[in-house]
């Protein structure tokens, strides 16, 4: 693969009930990413937006962010899915040799609708939808299958919540930062057994944008470029009933491909910091395993060891992760933006000192049907 770098990032603060329109959120991060890269819109020749018509309550919602994303008068396309997938598409277009600099935007304003109804509507209307499945109940089924198979405990899941909510206190963009104990998580209200109130992410409003550039353009950029060293995505079966819910086959496949491209043989040793899509606390443990940080079933032991907390061998989610801010479709791109800040040494109170190689991970679909894995570095291949 030719060299491509990320040269600019921008995020809003993530919160519930932001009073800007979704286009105003997109404008905010487009401007921030351009300023971060030291570019003007004239330097951008390609735009990839990310929208979901149900979430936005509007058909062909991508058209409504044309001006805000800088699409006016430019080559603009849209992805429906997590922002890591929009970035993947932006990367492919950058590699086509036709474009110099690509801006990728994504937004979430789910507070304007009813998130639980919207998640219910993701299911097959003939079966699971009319039985009332949603993100929480389906994830509870996945958590039950996984925990029962490997003996992972509710306390081990709670440790993820304690760690990430504490990390969020160092992230000015985070929605929910908390100083809590395992006991607090265990005693929080049961939503869908074994998932409790403090095991789940908040649905947040917000937006994120990044700028991808060719090697030539990246060398002229204002900030130190962050190079894309490996990337892959993979999709599992649509219906949960057709998947083995005790591990993520799709994540294992995506991670292996991305690592091969990046020349990573031992991800736990070679990656300095990881930002993963922990929509629920148990998910972070499953994703450790899918990403090869430990063997299948050992995620609980890994969080227990303290190796994934700040100061550990491989800090996971220094930003507080998705548990601390969950703007749907934005959250994966926010993982990439956070990885970029880490690799530039600009992550402030959540900085992992001397980070050279970072991993960012995004998911789309029910219980992580699709996984996208990015390996980024401040060192060239």
């Amino acid at each position: 693969m030719d060299k491509v770098a990320i040269i600019g990032v921008g995020q809003t603060r993530y919160e519930r009930g932001n009073t800007k329109s979704f286009a105003e959120l997109v404008y905010e991060v487009t401007r921030k990413a351009l300023d971060d890269a030291g570019l003007e819109l004239d330097n951008i020749d390609n735009v990839v937006t990310t929208t979901n018509d149900f979430y936005d309550g509007r058909t062909i919602a991508c058209m409504a962010v044309a001006e805000a994303s800088g699409s006016y008068g430019r080559d603009a396309t849209n992805v429906e899915g997590d922002g890591t997938l929009s970035a993947f598409y932006g990367l492919m277009r950058t590699l086509s040799g036709v474009y110099d600099a690509t801006i990728v935007t994504t937004h979430c304003k789910m507070s304007e609708g009813n998130p639980r109804k919207l998640f219910n509507q993701a299911f097959d209307p003939i079966y699971d939808r009319i039985l009332g499945m949603d993100a929480i109940s389906s994830s509870a089924l996945q958590a039950r299958a996984y925990m029962d198979r490997y003996g992972v405990t509710e306390e081990q899941c709670a440790m993820v919540s304690v760690k990430n909510h504490a990390n969020a206190r160092n992230n000015p963009y985070a929605h929910v930062a908390l100083e809590i104990t395992i006991d607090d998580v265990m005693k929080s209200p049961m939503l869908a057994e074994p998932i409790k109130r403090l095991d789940i992410s908040p649905i947040s409003d917000g937006a994120c944008a990044i700028i991808l550039a060719t090697e030539e353009r990246a060398r002229k950029s204002a900030k130190k470029p962050v190079w894309v060293r490996g990337v892959a995505h993979c999709t599992d079966a649509y219906r949960l009933g057709e998947r083995d819910l005790t591990y993520s086959a799709a994540l294992e496949t995506a991670a292996k491909k991305a690592y091969k491209m990046a020349g990573i043989r031992n991800p736990f040793k070679q990656i300095d910091v990881a930002e993963v899509y922990d929509a629920f606390s148990y998910m972070e443990l499953m994703w450790y395993e899918g990403l090869g940080f430990c063997d299948r079933g050992k995620g609980g032991k890994l969080v227990e060891s303290g190796k994934t907390q700040m100061g550990g061998e491989l800090p996971v989610n220094p930003s507080g992760g998705v548990l601390s801010a969950h703007p749907v479709q934005v959250a994966g791109l926010a993982r990439i933006a956070e990885a970029v800040l880490q690799l530039r040494g600009e992550a402030g109170g959540r900085q992992v000192p001397g980070a050279k190689t970072a991993l960012a991970h995004g998911i789309t679909g029910i219980c992580g049907q699709t996984h996208c894995v990015w390996v980024l570095s401040n060192e060239e291949a």
């Binding site: 109804k117 009319i130 009332g132 039950r144 299958a145």
Partner: protein, 158 residues
Amino acid sequence: MNEKEGSDRELLEITSGEAEHVYYWHCGHYVSKFLLGLRDKKTILGIKCSRCGRVYVPPREVCGRCFATMNEWVDLGTEGTIYAFTVVKLPYIDPNTGKPIKVPRTDIYVKLEGADTCLMHWLDETDEKKISVGAKVRAVFKEHRRGTIHDIECFTQI
């Protein structure tokens, strides 16, 4: 007119209103046959991939793993085991009626005997201490059936 000082800084909201947007989904040949099995024979039909041998329930035209058309129907009966369960305690809106649903309610994935995939449905037990992965269950059918997944009232432990 009530004009108070600073009212030009008020932030407004507009609602989408009460209009409904109703869909009519075609079930197709495979799903129709499955639903007719529930309605007319009180049985659960799956479909087998002749290439990899997997039995899918609910049935579908294409095996995703082989990208092959499936034609071999299998009568799976009404019994199986619990693959995963959750007792839902957070009240929410019933998508069928728009009215609040009664909680607690137990969602399960059932692996029917002879099937390789799981069917999602409800269990008539809401005490999680009395439910376990691997427990045997049987489908309970409604008396008046209309050709929907709700023709199965729920599953019950046997």
